[in-house]
């Protein structure tokens, strides 16, 4: 793809339309809709039918998925299609024929991997091989155990890998680069979720009248919303920054901004639910889906272990 005028932000609108369409369909049909809109293969090479664009073009897509609370492993499929290079496997993902997810915990070596989204519906799963690289597995060859405690509709999946069938292997460099990309996209996804929740909540507070005035007239409400906006904007700015190399063309560490995005998104979502009052505690208000999703990613990164790791890394760098 040689269209140099293409801007990442232009992808958001098109992505939003495809995602909204996909949300009205079943899992397989959604794959077709998302793939046809070019989303699944946005970073896959052209020979695999992809758009061969950088991760900065996947970011607005994934942010929209977060905002719209898409229940489909879009960021995983985009990333895995990218990592598989020009192979036939990548083409299957880019075309929507297959769907891949990523088990962010465990490894092939441990024979247990976990925190994969939508494992029951997907075809393939990427796992760490336990030696620095990654392995793409056929989900038909693994035993899926679901844990619906946090999200009964979209449970966290654990995969028993005793007889796992490996479809492809990623070397350590490719897998490390992919993990870096995943941090950016996951941060973008949860930040998108926060942005969506904030917009919903601000709108609700501005129209919901109590004692003759909108709730947004109350300073306590205004200030809380403003603080949420500050966190969401800061996190967003940090994510944009990590896409770019520094003046010396060095890549930047992606973990700090993922730590920040996960914490800020959880805060924004929790407070959004709180501000909705009784309504916020109902299943009907969909913000809880986003909160569950953020908490699942938080768990996948060891819930605080990531922040600790960032701290250790920084300490060791001095």
């Amino acid at each position: 793809m040689s269209d140099n005028d293409l801007k990442p932000e232009e992808f958001a609108q098109a992505a939003a339309e495809a995602i909204t369409d996909a949300q009205t369909r079943d899992f397989r049909e959604a794959a077709q809709v998302l793939a046809n809109a070019g989303l699944c293969g946005v970073c896959a090479p052209e020979e695999a039918g992809g758009l061969a664009l950088g991760i900065e073009f996947a970011l607005p897509i994934v942010a929209e998925a977060g905002k719209l609370r898409l229940q489909w492993p879009l960021l995983e499929t985009i990333l895995i299609a990218k990592a598989l290079g020009g192979s036939a496997l990548a083409a299957e993902l880019a075309s929507g024929a297959r769907v891949a997810t990523w088990a962010l915990q465990g490894s092939l070596q441990e024979r247990l991997a976990g925190q994969a989204r939508h494992a029951r519906d997907s075809d393939w799963v990427l796992v760490a091989d336990g030696q620095g690289g990654g392995a793409l597995l056929d989900l038909g060859s693994v035993e899926i155990q679901e844990d619906g405690a946090l999200d009964p509709e979209h449970p966290q999946s654990w995969l028993v890998l005793d007889s796992a069938k490996v479809l492809a292997e990623l070397d350590a460099a490719t897998f490390a680069a992919l993990q870096r990309d995943s941090h950016i996209l996951i941060a973008g996804f949860v930040n998108g979720a926060a942005e969506g929740a904030l917009a919903t909540t601000a709108a609700y507070m501005s129209t919901r009248v109590q004692f003759g005035r909108p709730l947004s007239a109350k300073q306590a409400v205004r200030h809380l919303l403003a603080r949420m906006r500050m966190l969401q904007e800061a996190s967003n700015a940090g994510i944009q920054r990590v896409l770019r190399t520094d003046e010396y063309d060095h890549v930047r560490s992606t973990r700090p901004i993922l730590v920040n995005a996960l914490a800020s998104a959880a805060f924004v979502l929790e407070k959004s639910i709180h501000l909705h009052g009784g309504m916020g505690f109902t299943w009907e208000l969909p913000l809880h889906y986003a909160l569950r999703e953020v908490r699942k990613f938080d768990a996948a990164f060891g819930s605080g272990s990531l922040a600790r790791q960032v701290g250790q890394d920084f300490i060791h760098s001095i």
Binding site: Q210, E284, D298, G302
Partner: protein, 400 residues
């Protein structure tokens, strides 16, 4: 340690140590294992199991502590109530399935009910024969009662009621609704509010459950469509019932669920025990972060216990509780909600290879995290409590 299942109810005069020991022993001997939330054998108890458990607690002298003997109570003081609450809190038992009856309807009826109503309703609440639900909130009114629309019109010896309630806990199972209506128009604002005890099987009542984010359907919308009740269902004169409710709510905010501080501690114990039962989770307990946060939580729990015990001292000394219940509600809800986040982050480390106790904790504390979203909302939001503290406790002028 051997625990006798049916020790004799002690005389309260024997002192708090004896009563507390008795409560502790009885509760631990009698609560079925599968109803203990911290047990690997736990399963969500049925309504009937909860009812039977609470009825047996009542029979054992562990409920209705402060209610008059003439209406089935034990006629004791808040002091014994607190003593029992400490042991209720210390054991991971289910929440009461009759809290509206015991904490709201009962006290209001004791205040404004006729002798007939007291005889009819109160003993049945304690013995778990009747459940009550609360019909105060309305879709457009929120905490602004001046906007209450549900209307009660007198027709001879009966009243005809039309309107809609929301956030009605336990409506589906309730036998009676403690219903707030207005006799005039919305222009009357806070005047003309009339309270009823409405049997839930009265024709014209329709209950539509609301699913909450913790997956429960414990509250509902309730529609009243030409519901007719006799005048004997009326609780007090116009405004009398609601004024009593305001008083009861303010007292109850301070005295209700006094066990919370001790249950909070019980949850912390459960969390740590679960970690200790699993080698991988046990390493979290060596992490300075969790150690420090747990230390802070222990300090908060002690402060919370202090607030609760001071409330009892204060009321036992004959003082009005005033707005001070807001301090306890706010402090508890903020600390407990933060704890729920901490607990979630710990149980997020549970995987299929973790111990059974860790698996149980994973379920319990994930649900608790979701449920805790409501803790800063119900019974007066955080913002409402802060307003109350600023205005009624600190007396801060809004304008000169």
């Amino acid at each position: 340690m051997h625990m006798e299942k049916n020790p004799a109810i002690p005389d309260a005069a024997a002192g708090p140590a004896v009563y507390r020991q008795y409560a502790r022993q009885w509760l631990r001997a009698n609560l079925p294992e599968h109803m203990r939330a911290d047990s690997v054998g736990y399963r969500t108890p049925t309504l009937d199991e909860c009812r039977d458990w609470e009825a047996s607690m009542y029979a054992a002298g562990l409920a209705g502590m402060t209610w008059p003997k003439s209406y089935g109570g034990l006629g004791l003081t808040l002091r014994e109530h607190l003593v029992v609450n400490k042991e209720v809190g210390a054991l991971a038992m289910p929440e009461s399935v009759s809290s509206i009856g015991k904490e709201l309807a009962g006290p209001i009826i004791q205040t404004v009910g006729t002798e007939e109503q007291k005889q009819l309703f109160l003993p049945r609440i304690l013995s778990m024969r009747d459940y009550w639900c609360q019909g105060f909130s309305e879709p457009d009114a929120g905490s602004d009662l001046a906007r209450l629309r549900t209307k009660a019109v007198p027709e001879g010896d009966t009243w005809r009621i039309n309107g809609q309630k929301i956030w009605t806990s336990g409506a589906a199972k309730a036998h009676y609704c403690l219903l707030l209506t207005r006799t005039g128009t919305v222009a009357d604002k806070h005047r003309g509010l009339l309270m009823f005890a409405v049997p839930m099987d009265t024709p014209g009542i329709r209950v539509v459950p609301i699913k909450s984010i913790d997956g429960k359907e414990s509250f509902a919308e309730v529609f009243f469509d030409n519901v007719e009740v006799p005048d004997s269902a009326r609780l007090g004169a116009p405004d009398e019932g609601w004024n009593a409710a305001i008083r009861v709510l303010s007292i109850e905010r301070a005295t209700n669920r006094m066990y919370r501080a001790w249950r909070f501690e019980c949850e912390l114990r459960q969390l740590i025990a679960a970690c200790k039962s699993d080698p991988r989770l046990a390493t979290l307990l060596d992490d300075g972060y969790y150690q420090r946060r747990i230390g802070e939580v222990v300090g908060e729990i002690d402060a919370l216990k202090g607030l609760v015990e001071r409330t009892v001292d204060h009321m036992m000394a004959g003082n009005k509780i005033g707005a001070r219940g807001s301090l306890t509600k706010l402090f508890w809800s903020e600390c407990h909600q933060a704890f729920a986040g901490l607990a979630l982050s710990i149980v997020s480390h549970v995987n299929p290879r973790s111990s059974a106790l860790a698996q149980r904790a994973r379920k319990a504390f994930t649900t608790s995290y979701l449920y805790a979203r409501a803790e800063t909302i119900y019974a007066g939001t955080t913002e409402v409590q802060l307003d109350i503290i600023a205005q009624r406790i600190m007396d801060l002028p809004k304008d000169l």
